[in-house]
C-alpha cells in the first residue's frame, strides 16, 4: 500500500493512480471473511429494519419492505426496463470516453508540449465539481440520449485522462534505460516498454471512470430528463412509494459496486499477477 499513498502524495489531485484502499480490500475472501461479511450484512440490514420499524421517519421504509419492493420490480420487469435505458448512455459514453481520454492521456504523457498545454486544465477539472456544467449540457444537446452521453463523458474523462498520463509517466526509469541501452527506437520503447507498463494504471483509470460515469448518468437522469433508474427514483418519490424508491436506489448502488468489483478483479488478474 505504500505505493498508494506515495502515488497520491506525488499525485496531482484526486485519486489518480490505483487509488484508494480499494486495492487491499478486494481479494478472494477466505471462509472466515465470508463469516465476517455475513455478520456485517446482518448488522447493517438489521439496523435498517429496526430503524424502519420505529420508524425514524414516515418516508423511511424497513429493509424487508425494500427487499420485497426490489423483488417485485425485478419480477415485473420494471428494473430491467429501467436499466436498459440507463446503461445506454453509460456504455456509449464510456466507450467514447475510454478511447478518447486514454489516447489523450497517453499523448500527454509522451509529449512535453501536450503536457504543458493540458495538464493544468485536467488537474483542475479533476478536483472540480464537473456537475456544475450539467445545466449547460441541456442547453447544448437538449434532453435526449446525446445529453446523457455527454454527462457521462464529462464526469469520467478527467480521471481517465490523468490516470493514463500517470501510467505513462510512472514507467520505471531503469526499464527505460534498459531499453535505451539495447538501442530501442522510440517506437519500440513506447510499444514494448511504456504502454505495457502503463496498462495497469490506465485500466485502473477506466475503473474509476466507470464509477464516475455512473454518477454522471444518474445525475443526468435526475437533472436533465427522468429516464431509467433516475425516473424510477423520481417517480416513486412523487407518489410516496418509499420502499420502491429505496429499492431503486439500492439497485443502482449494487449495480455500480458489482461493475467496479468485476473491473477490479479483472485488473488484478490481468495486470498485477504478483499480488
Amino acid at each position: 500500500m505504500a505505493d498508494r499513498t506515495a502515488a497520491s502524495r506525488r499525485g496531482l489531485s484526486e485519486e489518480v493512480a490505483g487509488a484508494g484502499g480499494h486495492q487491499i480490500v478486494e481479494r478472494v475472501p477466505s471462509d472466515r471473511q465470508w463469516l465476517w461479511r455475513l455478520i456485517s450484512f446482518a448488522v447493517v440490514f438489521g439496523g435498517w429494519e429496526i430503524a424502519g420499524r420505529i420508524p425514524v421517519s414516515p418516508s423511511f421504509p424497513t429493509f424487508s419492505a425494500t427487499i420485497v419492493a426490489l423483488g417485485e420490480m425485478l419480477l415485473d420487469g420494471t428494473l430491467a426496463g429501467a436499466y436498459a435505458e440507463t446503461v445506454q448512455p453509460l456504455i456509449l459514453g464510456m466507450l467514447l470516453c475510454s478511447v478518447m481520454a486514454v489516447l489523450f492521456g497517453v499523448g500527454m504523457g509522451l509529449s512535453r508540449t501536450v503536457e504543458w498545454f493540458s495538464l493544468p486544465i485536467f488537474i483542475i477539472l479533476q478536483a472540480a465539481p464537473m456537475a456544475a456544467l450539467i445545466p449547460l449540457i441541456t442547453f447544448l444537446y437538449g434532453i435526449g440520449l446525446t445529453a446523457k452521453v455527454v454527462a457521462v463523458m464529462l464526469m469520467s474523462a478527467p480521471i481517465i485522462v490523468l490516470n493514463s498520463y500517470k501510467g505513462i509517466r510512472n514507467t520505471s526509469p531503469s526499464l527505460l534505460d534498459m531499453s535505451r541501452s539495447f538501442m530501442a527506437t522510440r517506437r519500440q520503447q513506447i510499444v514494448k516498454i511504456i504502454l505495457p507498463s502503463a496498462s495497469g494504471l490506465i485500466f485502473a483509470g477506466l475503473r474509476l471512470g466507470v464509477a464516475a460515469g455512473v454518477t454522471g448518468v444518474v445525475l443526468a437522469e435526475l437533472l436533465i430528463t427522468p429516464t431509467g433508474v433516475g425516473d424510477l427514483i423520481t417517480y416513486y418519490r412523487s407518489v410516496a412509494e418509499y420502499p420502491h424508491m429505496f429499492a431503486s436506489i439500492l439497485s443502482i448502488i449494487i449495480f455500480s459496486s458489482v461493475a467496479v468489483t468485476l473491473l477490479q478483479r479483472a485488473e488484478t488478474a490481468l495486470f498485477r499477477p504478483e499480488t
Binding site: 484508494g20 503536457e115 493544468p120 483542475i124 449547460l136 437533472l223 427514483i233 423520481t234
Partner: protein, 250 residues
C-alpha cells in the same frame, strides 16, 4: 515547456487558454462562449451583490458543517478500522462500497427525509466525503510503522498516548491524503446537492444563470467554484509535501 531557453511554468498554459477563450468569444461563434473579458467583468460585478453573497454564505456553511462532520467521524472511524480487526471487518466492505458508489442517487432520499434545506446539503457533503477519508486513514493506521508502536509500548505509553502521540502522526501522510480527497468530494457534494435541491446556494445560481442565458455570470461562477476546489486541494497537498520526509523513514 521552454521558450528561448527559459522554462515556463506549466500553470502559465492557463493564460494561453484564456487568450484562446477570449478570441473564440470575440468571434461570437456561440452564445455559450462569451469573451473571457466579459466573464471577468461579470464576475467583478457579481462579487459585491447581495444575491451572490447569500449564495456563498449558505454554500460555505453547508460545506464546512458537512466537512467538519466528515472529519470528526471519518478519521476516528478509519483509525479504529485500521487498528481493531473486528471493526475493520465489519465496516470495511461498506466503506468500500459507498466510497465508489453513485451517492448522487441517495440525495432524493435525503430530500424526502430531511426536506429541501441545509440539512440535506450538509448530509450530502458528509456522505460524499466521509468514506474516502475513513478508507485512507485506515490504510495509514494499518500500515503505520509497527516498530514505532512497539517502541511506544516498550516505553510504557498508555493506549491513549499511543494513539494520539504516535499512531496519529505515523498515519499523518495518509490522513492528509484522505482529507484532501474528502475535501474535493465535499465540494462536489455541495454542488450536486444544491443542483438537485435547486433552490439553495450556488446550485440555485447555476440554474438561474443557465436558464436565463446569463453565460457570462455562469462562467464566472464556474471559474470561482473550480478555483475554490483547486485551491483547497492544493493547500492540503502543500502540507502533504511538507511532511513528505515521513515517507523516507518507513
Amino acid at each position: 515547456m521552454t521558450v528561448l531557453g527559459y522554462r515556463i511554468p506549466m500553470m502559465f498554459s492557463l493564460l494561453a487558454w484564456f487568450v484562446v477563450w477570449e478570441i473564440v468569444g470575440q468571434l461570437d461563434l456561440t452564445i455559450l462562449i462569451p469573451p473571457f473579458s466579459g466573464v471577468i467583468a461579470a464576475g467583478i460585478t457579481m462579487l459585491p451583490s447581495q444575491k451572490f453573497h447569500d449564495a456563498i454564505t449558505i454554500t460555505m456553511t453547508a460545506f464546512l458543517a458537512g466537512m467538519g462532520l466528515s472529519l470528526l467521524v471519518g478519521i476516528p472511524l478509519g483509525i479504529l478500522m485500521g487498528r481493531v480487526k473486528a471493526i475493520g471487518q465489519l465496516m470495511g466492505m461498506w466503506v468500500n462500497i459507498f466510497e465508489s458508489s453513485p451517492l448522487t442517487a441517495v440525495i432524493p432520499v435525503l430530500m424526502a427525509l430531511l426536506g429541501f434545506g441545509q440539512a440535506t446539503i450538509i448530509t450530502t457533503v458528509f456522505l460524499f466525503s466521509v468514506w474516502v477519508i475513513a478508507l485512507d486513514v485506515q490504510v495509514g493506521a494499518k500500515h503505520a510503522n509497527a516498530s514505532l508502536l512497539e517502541m511506544g509500548r516498550s516505553f510504557g505509553a498508555s493506549r491513549f498516548a499511543l494513539y494520539t502521540k504516535i499512531l496519529f502522526f505515523a498515519a499523518l501522510p495518509e490522513i492528509l491524503a484522505g482529507v484532501r480527497l474528502g475535501l474535493i468530494r465535499g465540494v462536489k457534494g455541495v454542488v450536486i446537492g444544491q443542483l438537485l435541491v435547486a433552490i439553495v446556494g450556488v446550485g440555485e445560481l447555476f440554474e438561474l444563470y443557465s436558464r436565463n442565458f446569463l453565460m457570462e455570470e455562469f462562467w464566472a461562477l464556474v471559474i470561482m467554484v473550480f478555483a475554490f476546489a483547486f485551491a483547497i486541494s492544493e493547500t492540503v497537498a502543500y502540507v502533504e509535501r511538507r511532511i513528505e520526509y515521513y515517507a523516507s523513514t518507513r
